[in-house]
């Protein structure tokens, strides 16, 4: 049960690539400030779910409601204006721009001022890198820059795709704290993650996907004992 009225509600979402059904009737709900884990084996459609919700791809069927309003037909920037933002499994910063310019780009629409940009850089430990070209950052730094770019746009719903992958234990710990702080400020988080230990720091509620479909929804602890979930993970 969601603690309050859902911010995002996704119903029977489907997406196919050619003959391949990447999403097959996915349904989920997310309330403000809530953190939902989205897990599943490789190729189960997690990234596709984020891509469709955020507008990178259009859905073949199903509905995406934000505050009860259908947003399925809107282009990316309109969804960003409404408060949907995301990071990428492979970070996509503006590589030729500096770290500071990366955030300035996103600040134009959201009208975040210098002080806010500065705070965001501090928050994500990017302040010392402000003048560096994004291309010169390592992958952990690029992930934080991706997240900073999303935060500057003032999201209400943040979709993060495997932020934990490739981080060392210390970085993982910090990232978990960062995401928890973001959620506490009222942002709804959909967290796609393979690292269940990392996810456990953020939330107890997960949706498990397989072949584009939800096969489990509930607490992480229960999921870990669920026959079907175990089969899918061991089989995949």
């Amino acid at each position: 049960m969601s603690p309050s009225a859902p911010l995002l509600s996704v119903e029977r979402l489907s997406k196919r690539f050619g003959a391949f059904q990447a999403l097959d009737g996915l349904t989920l709900e997310l309330a403000p400030g809530e953190v939902l884990g989205l897990v599943g084996p490789n190729g189960s459609g997690k990234t596709t779910a984020i891509n469709v919700i955020s507008g990178v791809y259009s859905a073949d069927a199903g509905s995406i409601l934000l505050d009860g309003r259908s947003i399925g037909g809107l282009p990316i920037h309109r969804r960003a204006h409404l408060g949907i933002n995301r990071t990428f499994q492979v970070p996509k910063p503006f590589r030729g721009l500096t770290v500071g310019e990366n955030l300035e780009v996103a600040a134009v629409y959201s009208r975040a001022d210098r002080a806010e940009i500065g705070k965001c850089l501090e928050f994500l430990e990017l302040a010392p890198l402000v003048g560096r070209e994004a291309a010169s950052l390592n992958s952990a730094q690029q992930k934080r820059l991706d997240l900073a770019r999303a935060l500057i746009a003032r999201p209400r719903l943040l979709l993060v795709d495997e932020l934990g992958a490739g981080l060392n234990p210390v970085e993982l710990q910090r990232m978990a704290q960062t995401l928890t702080t973001i959620a506490r400020s009222g942002v709804a988080l959909l967290v796609v993650e393979h690292l269940l230990g990392f996810l456990r720091e953020l939330t107890t509620r997960v949706v498990v996907m397989d072949a584009g479909r939800e096969i489990f929804e509930g607490s992480l602890e229960v999921a870990a004992r669920d026959r079907q979930v175990i089969d899918v993970f061991l089989g995949g």
Partner: protein, 302 residues
């Protein structure tokens, strides 16, 4: 003064004053024309990543738009120039769907589109309107000095446009779009609208240059204002200097156009050879243009 402002003032003053001490006005005029076209290419390619091989189509459309406004509507040349630019912008609006194509497809489609404009303009059935293949004569308004001065103003406008892009949110947004269009969308940027604006601005600059050229030469044929070499030269000059900067296309145009002109006069038989070699060297060793050398030396380039 915004970044690059003083460079622009310097270049404009240079071309405003040089005619008093240097006799080859045709060379100066053509150089200005290529400076404008190179900056127009820069606006589109440097700031959005679209390489328009058919860029000359806008130049030709501007030349014809201005000329027909003079011949048919009897406008004075300067207002006619703006009609020419408006015609180029109109053509660009019609072609805006091409921006959905990517990379080589866009380059080739824009080339085809400029050929279509050329065939329409030079069509013998339209002789009563465009003079078809017989070309245009603006003998009654010919004024070498005034048209030269006009090109100086057009040059100032082109440089001002790029200085603006180098210093504005719009320029930053366009660079973001070039780097990573999807992330730009998540930064709240309307990618399609910004790209289209750059495309129209770029077309307007070519249209103004085309109109000023038409007035300056006052007799020309469709072939000469839709000559693909004009696109190729402008693109090579821009890339040679370095895109997405103000200075790159200026340096590229001054050096290469100067070089080509010198070879074309003194050793015309080697022209194609040198032209080809420059392109090969550019692609192999300086894909980001001359300004990348300065950048490597940590010198800031406006």
């Amino acid at each position: 003064m915004p970044r690059g402002g003083w460079y622009s003032v310097g270049v404009v003053l240079l071309f405003a004053l040089l005619p008093f001490v240097y006799g080859n006005h045709a060379l100066l005029f053509n150089m200005m024309m290529y400076l404008v076209l190179a900056q127009g290419i820069n606006v589109l390619f440097g700031f959005t990543g679209y390489l328009p091989f058919g860029y000359v189509g806008f130049f030709g459309a501007g030349a014809y738009g201005a000329s027909l406004a003079i011949l048919l509507v009897h406008l004075p040349p300067v207002p006619a120039l703006f009609v020419g630019a408006a015609v180029s912008v109109l053509v660009a609006l019609l072609l805006a769907p091409l921006l959905r194509l990517s990379g080589a497809y866009f380059a080739i489609a824009s080339l085809a589109a400029s050929e279509v404009v050329y065939y329409i303009v030079s069509n013998p059935h339209l002789v009563s309107l465009t003079q078809g293949p017989y070309g245009i004569s603006l003998a009654q308004v010919y004024n070498s000095g005034a048209s030269y001065a006009t090109m100086v103003v057009v040059l100032a406008m082109a440089l001002a446009a790029v200085v603006y892009l180098r210093n504005s949110h719009m320029g930053l947004a366009l660079q973001a779009i070039r780097e990573e269009p999807i992330s730009a969308g998540f930064a709240g940027i309307n990618v399609v609208r910004e790209r289209t604006r750059a495309w129209l601005l770029s077309a307007a600059l070519a249209g103004l240059a085309g109109g000023a050229y038409a007035w300056h030469v006052s007799v020309f044929y469709p072939k000469s204002v839709f000559d693909l070499n004009i696109s190729v030269f402008a693109i090579v000059f821009t890339l040679f200097g370095g895109v997405a900067t103000l200075v790159g296309p200026i340096v590229g145009t001054l050096l290469l156009y100067g070089l080509y002109n010198w070879i074309g006069i003194s050793q015309p038989e080697y022209f194609q050879l040198v032209f080809g070699i420059v392109i090969v060297l550019l692609v192999l060793f300086l894909p980001n243009g001359l300004v990348s050398l300065l950048r490597r030396a940590k010198i800031h380039v406006p």
